[in-house]
């Protein structure tokens, strides 16, 4: 039976969703990026305890790109996580795969290179390197997802709800802009606006991230895939807690429709599930 996985944005949400969400993804301070909230390891341990008591699964995202001076903290956390018996660690930086080998860690790994998880050959490559799960890119089609499933044994995880991070930078782009033009306004939130679209823009200590303008709503695709794929991810970033809860309950019970979910959210999208991206736009004589 397929499982719903929530990316939470506050600790209270776990309590609220324990009954409906089968697993949770959380971030760790300074070792994760593009997460709605980051926890210290002490908090992670408490969360894990609570989740375990309710027979749910916990995934911890350590999806930052690491500079060498961040490796000691990363190693320390990886070793701490080992004793928590969690479901898996999400990684972007390949250094984590090496550390798992060198430190002889047993915790499962989840390949989460966001936009690179696009094909079955690379899925198989990571599976052969003891990676257990793969979160599929939000930039591939439903057909591609099905083809990947047919050609790999790695456990697949598919995003079905939420905003998508489209751009991650180590540059402090909001701070730079404000400094350049002597703007002193401090805001709790920032957005970008272009051609009638509004995008969330977040800058924290580690990265600046821009999110998609639309919220992915792949309920219909979930219905198609749920007999083949085990994990479906819902990201609560910038979605009202009550609305999010309502949606996850309705999905869990399959007592909803895509249209019903659309009514609860502003500006939903299918991303690329039914629209292939192109990359060659010029033609030359020799072609």
């Amino acid at each position: 039976m397929s499982k719903l996985v929530t990316i939470i944005k506050d600790e209270k949400q776990i309590e609220d969703l324990l009954e409906y969400s089968d697993a949770f993804i959380i971030g760790v301070k300074d070792l994760s990026v593009n997460m709605p909230i980051y926890f210290e390891m002490d908090e992670v341990k408490k969360i894990n305890k609570k989740i375990k008591e309710n027979n749910k699964e916990l995934f911890i995202s350590l999806n930052k790109n690491f500079h060498t001076n961040e490796l000691p903290k990363l190693k320390e956390v990886l070793i701490e996580i080992e004793s928590l018996n969690i479901a898996g660690i999400l990684f972007y930086d390949i250094g984590i795969v090496n550390l798992k080998q060198e430190l002889n860690l047993k915790t499962n790994l989840v390949w989460n290179q966001e936009h690179a998880t696009t094909n079955f050959a690379t899925a198989n490559y990571w599976h052969e390197h003891n990676v257990n799960y793969m979160i599929l890119s939000n930039e591939i089609t439903l057909n591609e997802i099905e083809e990947i499933k047919e050609n790999t044994n790695i456990e697949l995880m598919v995003n079905i709800l939420g905003y998508t991070p489209m751009f991650t930078s180590e540059r402090k782009l909001i701070s730079n802009y404000k400094e350049k033009f002597n703007l002193n306004n401090n805001n709790s939130k920032y957005y970008l606006h272009k051609e009638n679209n509004i995008y969330h823009l977040i800058e924290d200590k580690n990265v600046t991230t821009m999110y998609s303008s639309g919220i992915l709503n792949a309920y219909n695709e979930y219905l198609i895939l749920k007999s083949k794929i085990n994990y479906f991810i819902l990201n609560s970033f910038e979605i009202d807690n009550e609305i999010f809860k309502k949606i996850i309950i309705s999905i869990k019970n399959e007592q909803t429709s895509e249209e019903e979910i659309n009514k609860l959210l502003v500006n939903t999208t299918k991303n690329f599930l039914h629209k292939e991206t192109i990359y060659k736009v010029k033609k030359y004589d020799k072609d």
Binding site: N65, V97, Q101, T164, M166, S169, L173, H193, K194, Y279
Partner: protein, 402 residues
């Protein structure tokens, strides 16, 4: 006089002409795109025959050719990969540059190609380097965000060749972690379709969705990279290869940038004690690109000065006047192919790998019919100009820099 081992100077080449120019001007190696599967899908790129010709040319100069196969694969590209890799190997190239680990696996299985890991993997720590070394990767192109300390640690802890960018355009995002192009223009950034959304202007809004008004609009745009000042420090770090960005750049750009970095590397490595930073080189590079270039992450200088708020308008470079095709020592006239308008009385500079820079005024121009003319206004027009000193084929003529 201390002589030091020179790092490789690696230049981009969008086509055969640029490959040859890069090598003639002093590149030790060039990187190019093949017929497909490279991250510059909209550059002209090379056919297999052109790759072979480029490799033959390069090897005559003891230079190397690397082919980028650095897209992030989708299912449909997997089918063509095996055959493609075999065809690339038949071209006798010196290495391939890959990003997707599935290509590493397949290249090892079906070819003997040397494998370099692309910067698209954004590698900047020793653990990731160790992993890819075990996978048979010979060289890693480090992330643009890599710092001095990262490089030093990698050099001290992992026995692997490393390649670092020294000049050219910078992604604003972490390589591989930007799909703005996909979402805003439906063009796949990680398969070579990047439409450079990072150079667009946006309105930055506050929490109430009111515009925050700076003198100019918000943009992600980053200034170019120039490591000119830190080349000695980079050489001392033991970096294997110094990479210039820009497979879409012009012949003039390639010749100028390669020429300057060739000089700096040679000057430092041939006589470290007496090396002095040459401000003139900085001026030449600045004029050539028409974009500001700064040091960025190497010494943690990724601050406001790296952001580029210039709007999208960039004036194309008009400094490149022509390229020398031939020289007649008896008449002292050089045969020149025109690239930008020039005329009698213009102050010019002629530079090349085998001459000291010549500064002179244009005093005489003869057209193809032997007539004296005042102005050369037609693109690629062949004319002869009188030069003060001997020049050579492939020397470049530019406006005198002020």
């Amino acid at each position: 006089m201390t002589k030091i081992k020179k790092p490789e100077l690696l230049a981009p080449a969008g086509d055969l002409e640029r490959l040859k120019i890069a090598i003639i001007y002093g590149a030790d190696a060039v990187y190019i795109g093949g017929p497909s599967l490279s991250l510059r899908a909209n550059a002209r790129n090379f056919t297999f025959d052109e790759i072979k010709e480029g490799v033959e040319f390069a090897h005559k100069y003891n230079a190397k050719v690397f082919v980028t196969i650095n897209i992030i694969l989708h299912n449909k590209e997997i089918k063509e990969l095996k055959e493609y890799l075999k065809n690339i190997e038949k071209c006798n190239v010196d290495a391939i540059i890959v990003s997707d680990p599935a290509i590493i696996k397949m290249a090892k299985e079906y070819t003997n190609l040397e494998i370099h890991l692309s910067t698209q993997q954004s590698t900047m720590n020793i653990e990731a380097c160790k992993f890819f070394k075990k996978e048979g990767v010979k060289r890693i192109v480090l992330a643009r965000e890599t710092t001095y300390e990262d490089i030093k640690a990698i050099r001290e802890n992992v026995n692997i060749d490393i390649e670092c960018f020294i000049h050219g355009a910078m992604c604003s995002g972490i390589s591989g972690r930007c799909v703005l192009s996909n979402f805003l223009t439906n063009r796949d950034a990680n398969r070579g379709g990047c439409s450079q959304i990072c150079r667009w202007d946006f309105d930055l809004l506050d929490e109430n969705k009111n515009k925050i008004k700076g003198d100019k609009d918000f943009t992600f745009c980053a200034k170019d990279l120039s490591m000119l000042k830190y080349i000695p420090e980079m050489i001392d770090l033991g970096i294997t290869s110094f990479k210039i960005e820009g497979r879409m750049r012009s012949v003039y750009y390639i010749a100028t940038v390669v020429n300057i970095y060739r000089k700096v590397i040679d000057e430092y490595c041939n006589n470290k004690e007496n090396y002095k930073y040459n401000k003139e080189y900085e001026k030449v590079l600045r004029n050539c690109a028409n974009r500001d270039a700064v040091v960025q992450f190497f010494h943690h200088e990724n601050n406001v000065d790296c952001s580029y708020y210039n709007g999208r308008v960039e004036v194309s470079n008009q400094d490149f006047l022509g390229i020398v095709l031939d020289y007649n020592p008896k008449t002292k006239y050089a045969t020149v192919e025109q690239r930008n308008y020039f005329k009698i009385g213009d102050e010019i500079e002629i530079f090349g790998p085998n001459i000291d820079m010549i500064s002179q005024k244009i005093n005489s121009i003869i057209d193809e019919n032997g007539n004296n003319i005042e102005i050369v206004r037609h693109p690629k027009q062949i004319v002869q100009i009188l030069t003060d000193q001997p020049v050579y084929k492939n020397n470049i003529i530019r406006k005198r820099l002020t």
